[in-house]
């Protein structure tokens, strides 16, 4: 489900290997990222490039990761296509998540 890459400054970039984050894979996504956080990776970029649809289960998994990181970590989501952005906006989650256009912009935001 995921490709996890450690970058400079303690930043970890997570790519989805599938074109969706939905009920079909949200559980696995959530558990893999929980393990990643458990290992001490607390500054995360989730790159949604190539993800063409998300449902409420996928959205719930993202919220769960944000809450798990809590005040001790940071999360930026990037490369959100228009179909996925609709889900964020319809649920007002675009006001909750830090969202950047590109992976580089997300990394720079966490590096500040």
């Amino acid at each position: 489900v995921l490709n996890i890459n450690d970058e400079a400054d303690g930043i970890t970039v997570v790519d989805l290997a599938e074109d969706n984050l939905t009920a079909s894979n949200a559980g696995q996504f959530r558990s893999m990222l929980a393990e990643t956080i458990q290992e001490g990776r607390l500054r995360l970029v989730i790159d949604l490039q190539g993800v063409s649809y998300v449902d409420s289960s996928g959205l719930g998994a993202l919220v769960g990761i944000l809450k798990r990181l809590g005040a001790k970590g940071d999360l930026v989501i990037c490369a959100v296509g228009p179909a996925v952005m609709s889900v964020f906006k319809l649920t007002r989650m675009d006001k909750v998540f830090a969202i950047e256009t590109t992976r580089q912009a997300a990394i720079e935001r966490l590096s500040r």
Binding site: D19, N20, T22, A23, S24, S52, Y53, V54, D55, S56, S57, L59, G60, A61, V63, G64, L66, K67, G70, A71, P82, A83, M85, S86, V87, K89, L90, T91, R92, K95, V96
Partner: protein, 145 residues
């Protein structure tokens, strides 16, 4: 089925959703404003996933039918299945969960489904009868065709 009516029937499997999306991109997208299309597409994906997950308990041996009617002033979308109907208590309170964007601990992780569908469209109705369920969505066209 005339040129303004389109029907797709597909197996009740998550793996069939890309086929649905390609069909929507071809049939529905040209009839919608760009941003509105993605909202309606998200609503249909959510509704179909709810049917597969909750209505059919992920049993792949069923079919879901999506019917589009592209009217001059509005678009209607009917989703039909033969699974368990949506519980009446959920239908009575279709709304998004309330939350404060600043209160991380209390952010909801579930309960978005039907509320998100309703948020994306102008009208929503539901009927279950004789083992068939029909969720009907209505979308106004900003520029009547």
């Amino acid at each position: 089925v005339n040129s303004h009516e389109h029907v797709l029937r597909f197996a009740s499997r998550y793996q069939c959703v890309p086929e649905l999306l390609a069909w929507l991109d071809h049939k529905l997208a040209p009839a919608c404003d760009h941003d509105r299309y993605f909202d309606v597409r998200a609503a249909i994906v959510e509704a179909v996933h709810n049917i597969i997950r909750h209505g059919l308990k992920e049993d792949p041996g069923h079919h879901i039918t999506v019917a589009l009617r592209l009217g001059r002033a509005d678009i209607s979308i009917d989703l039909e299945d033969d699974g368990f109907p949506i519980p009446s208590e959920k239908l009575e309170k279709i709304r998004l969960p309330e939350f404060s964007v600043d209160d991380l601990d209390k952010l909801p992780e579930s309960g978005f489904g039907l509320g998100m569908v309703a948020q994306a469209v102008d009208r929503i109705s539901y009927r279950s009868s004789e083992g068939r369920n029909r969720l009907s969505l209505g979308v106004d066209r900003t520029v009547p065709q």
